[in-house]
Symmetry: C2
Subunit: 480 residues, 2 copies
Amino acid sequence: MNESIPREVDDIVRSAAAASALLARTEDITRAMWLRAIAGSLDARSGELVRIADEETALRIPRLTGELARTTAQLRQFADVIEEGSYLEATIDHPNPAATPPVPDLRRVLRPIGPVAVFAASNFPFAFSIAGGDTASALAVGCPVVVKAHPGHPRTSDVTAQIVTESLRESGAPEGTFAMVSGFDAGLSLVDHAGIRAVAFTGSVRGGRALIDRIAARPEPIPFYGELGSLNPVVVTAAADAEQGADLAAGLAASFQLGVGQFCTKPGVVLVPHDSALERELPRHLAAQQRMLTSGIADGFTTGSERVRGVSGVEMMSSATSGDSDGTSSMVAMTDVATLRVNTDSLLEEVFGPFTLLVRYRDEAELDVALSLLPGSLTATLHSSPGEDVAALVHRLEPLAGRLLFGGWPTGVAVSWAQQHGGPWPSTNTQFTSVGATAVRRFQRPVAFQDAPDAVLPAALREENPLRIPRRVDGVPITP
Amino acid sequence: MNESIPREVDDIVRSAAAASALLARTEDITRAMWLRAIAGSLDARSGELVRIADEETALRIPRLTGELARTTAQLRQFADVIEEGSYLEATIDHPNPAATPPVPDLRRVLRPIGPVAVFAASNFPFAFSIAGGDTASALAVGCPVVVKAHPGHPRTSDVTAQIVTESLRESGAPEGTFAMVSGFDAGLSLVDHAGIRAVAFTGSVRGGRALIDRIAARPEPIPFYGELGSLNPVVVTAAADAEQGADLAAGLAASFQLGVGQFCTKPGVVLVPHDSALERELPRHLAAQQRMLTSGIADGFTTGSERVRGVSGVEMMSSATSGDSDGTSSMVAMTDVATLRVNTDSLLEEVFGPFTLLVRYRDEAELDVALSLLPGSLTATLHSSPGEDVAALVHRLEPLAGRLLFGGWPTGVAVSWAQQHGGPWPSTNTQFTSVGATAVRRFQRPVAFQDAPDAVLPAALREENPLRIPRRVDGVPITP
């Protein structure tokens, strides 16, 4: 993978902009076919892709095989979503001269926003990378995509991009529908380019902030969809600990060590009662860890866990060290609410990797204090006993996250209609999701047609509903 | 109206933040009742409100009476919208262990984002001010509102705020649900305050950019919904001019002079064939204008029209001057595409007030060049002859605006389900509308509940659908 130079980036974005006008006129069934073609081609070369990705990321064959299956399932799901048609939010108001003010014939639909820059993630070489959810959802709604590859898996990126490009070409998609660029500077050139109409980014809070500032400096600001850092708090009630402490220890250990802890949904802070069974049982579930995704990520893990270890009032436990020279250890820090309160910044900055922080609370008042210190997250999880009244706790947790779990663990993000992968800052900066059916809404903008002749209307808005899609007509949802 | 000091702003936002948690648990029917109570109280004091507003804005009794009626109709419409329930986007996925990856029980709903800062507009002392669309849509979904009053109509603002506050109190809304602040510094304090979760602004591009920069400097960025400047291009085909030139001249004159041209949807640039009937007929429809909203706006109008007049290759026509000492003249500038091309910045910066620019094109190629120079707008209007094939023109216009009109004029914005009041930068910075039913989406954020017991779910997501609202269940839209 060679770094793209500014001239190349400019050519690529111009080509995407030219494709944009053509894509805006394609039918949903056409783009659905493209997505399924990409999925089929990726599946057909699964063995090769997984092998290369494992060489580059050490994420292991089973996980990578699953991740690729998730990626192609996701492409097919977005094909289903656009064929279903609700994503267009087609809305028709027939004229109503009696309204205040009078209503003309008004018809509103969501249209593609234009070329999208996608920044691939380090930790999902398939599902959040070249042909991942951002790319799939932007292509689905008719936006050309330029992906900035992550340097952590360059060969995986190259081969995937090749497969996507060929599939699109063979399916008849316009030149410029998809392209990949490489290198830090190429990423900045993308964000600065007038032809780019939206940016989707998965990465660090610092990286996301830098892009936000860069976008703010453009003559024309554009939407930025950042999936950034997340602590994913877990609350364990005293009753839950008493009943299920041993199981919770095993579940927590499995979740925070999954994929060497390199998940945006890793549980990074766990509020537990003092003297919990969970804490007592946890050590035996800690395991030596394989190498991390990149040396930069490994360095960040060391720096972050040392920062926490250095706080007075924090104890640490850790797994054995891997025999592997570049392997690492799992680490758990333990502290109390008083220490958390005076060291909030040091203790609540995300440590990306196999690390979690147990915060021991003595009573509900202390639990409440701990909750008040937490920043926004993608998820928040509650473990309680079936009989407990948790309404007040749920009201406390809801403002903290985009997804609330009752039991279970936050790692593992289903791709479905009701999924929400996005939460208050610093987890994301948006009111949308980056996973699940409604992820497409990030790349659409509304257009209303007033008193338009039927012939010039997009098919979704024609009176006879030729696409047979769900619409709202004169305020009433109508499913054909 | 006294300027609010920082301490007052802080108290007000803290009170709004406290109310936020309570509002998030109110029922839709409760907030609908609040909105209707506000509407009723405003209607009951219509005479007084209109009189005060006319003294402050010179917008005249008929227009202001209509605007207040629109404002109270809008409050009632948002009440209807939340009672209908689709605005919650309630979505339920039942567990599907066979999916890749497996789907747990997932239920997604839109929740209030938290306290909203609303910046009132100068040009709509009712409909885009204290109790206008931004306030109504934020309250509708359960967000407390702090409005920054516009200094152009301080007494109108004071009385309206009093009415809103009393109506809410009498309806049982929590303290902190609504407040008004005044003064430039108070506005900045609002935008900086950690308790504010979104900002809605109607005003100049420059003002909007300043707030965007201010928000980018917050530790936690928040959504900014700016309704900024808009040229609202109109295209008149040769056939339309030949058939309807005289009527088009009358229609254009009425639209660009309406309310002394002080509308965000004023047609500010009109692409006409060379030697058009429209241009020949226009002078006799130009009328002397009353005073503008504020002396600052009047100065801006003078500066802007002088800037255009100073461009070589531009001719001007204007109305008689009003006898009124602080009245003004309507002005029309005329130029050709070649001049537009080399003076784009000078000629295509919005001139707020009774001004429009006619650009004469010789053929389709020149029309195409002119279109390529236009920035984004709230609206774009096409006047063509019934027989013409306008498909290519529509494809050219669509990327330029949020609302496309076929015949008619862009001033006059209906409040309905399909309305779209928002377009590409610099008209707005969002993918949402600030007028119409979906304006509420700006102040909502999605939350998904995973494997939650029915009892802790919001009513909208409970299995039995106690609210009887439209929902998507396992991918299928279901209307009760």
